[in-house]
């Protein structure tokens, strides 16, 4: 059997199985072990478990449950309530101001944790009902929350950049810093979009009623204190790590402890909260890790059967493309795959094929990490497959339909693509901060 045929068979079987709606890790894992059993030869049956041992040794994965725990703890701790009130009062008098405030809230939440789930949970439970109650357009606000929460993986800390860093063998501290400016730029673009849209169509984001705007300056300043706790959490985790006091995995534990302390300080740390948090944490962690296990197995089998050669051959010899054309094609293929595939699986299966090629073409792998993360954000947003879609469907009030959710993301995906183009034209956007901090 030729390498091309093996590659084609493995991918198409996987896609087919995924379409049946069976659990993703089951579909990927099956294709991996079945191909090994059929084509590997002696010892092919060992590859599944050997992937489990490989996963064990992948030390940055320790940050995953820590970040998830932290995210849920933060959303339970009530930190976000105060923050929301702060943004609400400060931005309320502007057309679309509450939506702008929600983006601000999402940026702060993103700076406190490494995934998008916490942002989604906070956005959907705190911001969404308030926005709807004040007559904001449901499509607009659903989009705002989904787009805003996706910043969780771009604004440091970021689990996606940790996983990318391990695959591309790039320093995580620099990757995180590289995501900061593009993350803020993207948030800025979201804000600009909201302001322009609401200026043109005031009905989408009405100004707060007069009585709600009557807040004294003293009160406004007092509300700013809501930012203190998040800042401390950011400092205890990302700060200590970037300054070199704690290692990556240690910093994630420090962050989890900090979030728990924050809940304690806020008087929210009941046994029920604790139990809900650990239960949800296990659910999401196990989901991610079983997928990574299956994907690692898939990767090893794909590689050992020589199918990787077929991919290299395709990109380098057959297509005869220039470096930029290859990068753009890769991003497009990521976005297309991301529509159907879970982004973790995509990272573990596809990135090892692409990243060495990107390096060989002479591109900066830190820069590419940020580009990749934005692609993940788009993949995460776009139907039919995306965690935000599941979460949104589960959390949104009944008047928000699936169609609304799908439609809501369109303008924000366009903004993300714009951000991606900006990053391609101005790589300094990503590279300036890490170069400055690490003095390169």
């Amino acid at each position: 059997m030729s390498y091309e045929l093996i590659a084609l068979m493995m991918f198409s079987t996987m896609m087919l199985l995924l379409l049946t709606g069976q659990r993703i890790y089951g579909a990927i894992g099956f294709v991996a072990v079945a191909s090994a059993l059929l084509l590997w030869g002696d010892g092919g049956s060992e590859l599944g478990f050997s992937a489990a041992m490989k996963l064990m040794k992948w030390y940055p994965l320790l940050t995953l449950p820590m970040f998830i725990f932290m995210g849920y703890m933060l959303s339970e701790s009530g930190i976000a309530d105060d923050l929301y009130r702060m943004f609400h009062v400060w931005f309320g008098p502007v057309r679309g101001g509450l939506a702008v405030g929600t983006i601000g809230l999402m940026v702060v939440v993103s700076a406190m944790n490494g995934l998008s789930v916490a942002g989604m949970a906070i956005g959907a439970s705190i911001a969404l009902p308030e926005l709807l109650r004040r007559g904001y357009d449901k499509i607009m606000v659903t989009g705002v929350i989904q787009a805003g929460s996706s910043l969780g993986i771009l604004v440091p800390p970021s689990v996606v950049l940790v996983l990318y860093g391990m695959i591309a063998r790039q320093p995580i501290g620099q990757l995180w810093l590289a995501g900061a400016v593009p993350g803020l730029v993207m948030a800025g673009l979201f804000v600009i979009y909201i302001l322009i849209r609401c200026a043109l169509q005031p009905k989408l984001g009405p100004v707060l009623p007069k009585e709600e705007r009557q807040v004294s300056w003293g009160e406004k300043m007092r509300l700013l204190q809501a930012g203190i706790l998040p800042f401390l959490i950011f400092l205890s985790m990302t700060g200590l790590f970037v300054m070199g006091y704690t290692s990556l995995v240690e910093s994630s534990a420090v962050g989890a402890v900090a979030a728990t302390l924050a809940a304690l300080v806020k008087g929210r740390l009941t046994f029920k909260v604790l139990h809900t948090t650990v239960e949800k944490t296990l659910g999401i962690s196990a989901m991610f890790m079983w997928i990574i296990l299956a994907a690692l197995c898939f990767g090893a089998v794909f590689d050992g059967l020589g199918a990787v050669k077929a991919i290299e051959h395709l990109f380098i010899d057959k297509l005869g493309l220039g470096p930029w054309e290859i990068i753009i094609m890769m991003q497009i293929s990521f976005i297309l795959m991301g529509m159907f595939l879970d982004d973790t699986a995509m990272l573990v299966i596809v990135a090892p094929l692409y990243v060495p090629l990107v390096g060989a073409l002479g591109f900066d792998l830190i820069w590419y990490g940020v580009l990749y993360t934005i692609t993940c954000q788009i993949a995460y947003m776009t139907p039919p497959f995306g965690y935000n879609l599941f979460l949104m469907r589960a959390m949104a009030p009944p008047e928000v339909t699936l169609g609304d959710i799908y439609r809501s993301i369109i303008p924000f995906v366009i903004v993300m693509v714009l951000a991606m183009v900006l990053l391609m034209v101005f790589p300094e956007m990503a590279l300036w901060l890490p170069n400055k901090v690490y003095g390169l």
Partner: protein, 333 residues
């Protein structure tokens, strides 16, 4: 070019060639030197009768499972030291960096071919099911390269380094904290703060694989002058290979050993003098002697572990004695 020729391979002469998967301990950058030239040469000369596909550190199976994978046939052959893949034989403690066992890389082939280590190794692996030990060659010396300078034994305290199990076990008495992670993760681990550096190689490897970019200092004292690393194969697979291809594989292992002899030897001296990424530091001999003395105790401990280990230690001592009596250039005491 390899991609294209490998793609064409299955069709040669209409017969299916013998196909092996060989996984090396080395990451991509290092494998370019320590094994790839030899495997490329093998594939060329074998002319389609046999094809060896080379995989780098942890690529197919993680290092911890490497030995078992070879035994089960998941991997056909392996290039590694026995220490880091935890080969289940008593002598694996010597296969890697056994503290102060060797001074120069030429010591290793001499010990194996003239002082009887080869026979002992063959004996040891004959007791393990379905794995054949093929050949040992030598690598570079074991130095520290770290983010903090080491100028006295005191500086070793609390240092988290990526190192070999045996070297790690030996170094803990000086306060070193050995950390074990996949080879290719070591560079990032320095940057994520999991490691303060490595006690893994000579300066050539530091520059080749990128470790010199993430650490600042290189300690000129070494705890061993040359690493012992070997080639192994799944016994069934090895026995299926026709004699002329076995002979060819032996030639290629020797060519890999030979490449490393000059590549490391030349690199070590050159990069100390002309390299600009690592600052050299030293621990004064008077103080370093404590480490050398500690190794004597360590040797006795290991010798007491099994009869075979005792025989190996005796050989190492006998060899060291001859070299010292011979004087310069063999040993400059």
């Amino acid at each position: 070019a390899t991609g294209a020729s490998a793609l064409a391979a299955p069709a040669v002469l209409g017969q299916s060639p013998i196909k092996w998967r060989l996984q090396t301990y080395a990451g991509v950058a290092l494998a370019e030197h320590v094994v790839k030239p030899a495997i490329d040469a093998f594939n060329k000369v074998a002319n389609g009768e046999m094809v060896i596909e080379l995989y780098t550190a942890d690529q197919l199976v993680p290092t911890g499972e490497l030995f078992r994978a070879m035994q089960a046939g998941t991997i056909d052959a392996v290039q590694s030291d026995e220490d880091s893949m935890a080969a289940p034989v008593d002598v694996s403690v010597f296969g890697g960096y056994f503290p102060f066992a060797t001074r120069y890389s030429l010591d290793v082939p001499v010990l194996f071919n003239q002082y009887g280590l080869k026979e002992i190794w063959e004996e040891a692996y004959s007791e393990v099911e379905n794995v054949t030990w093929l050949s040992a060659g030598s690598w570079d010396p074991c130095h520290f390269n770290t983010t903090k300078p080491i100028r006295s034994l005191e500086d070793l305290k609390g240092l988290r380094v990526y190192t070999f199990p045996t070297a790690g076990r030996f170094l803990t008495q000086f306060g070193v904290i050995p950390v074990n992670i996949p080879y290719e993760d070591a560079e990032v681990a320095v940057q994520t703060g999991e490691l303060d550096g490595m006690a893994w190689s000579g300066i050539t490897e530091d520059y080749t694989v990128g470790w010199a970019d993430v650490t600042k200092y290189f300690l000129t004292n070494n705890i061993t002058g040359a690493w012992i690393g070997s080639f192994f194969a799944n016994s069934e697979r090895w026995n299926e290979v026709p004699e002329h291809l076995q002979a060819l594989f032996r030639l290629c292992m020797d060519s890999s050993h030979y490449y490393r002899q000059w590549w490391y030897w030349g690199g070590e001296a050159n990069l100390r003098v002309n390299g600009d990424k690592l600052e050299l530091t030293s621990i004064p001999d008077s103080e370093w002697n404590q480490v050398v003395k500690a190794a004597e105790t360590f040797w006795e401990e290991v010798a007491a572990e099994s009869d075979r280990s005792k025989r190996v230690v005796e050989i190492l001592k006998k060899y060291a004695g001859v070299m010292e009596k011979a004087g310069p250039p063999y040993r400059c005491v």
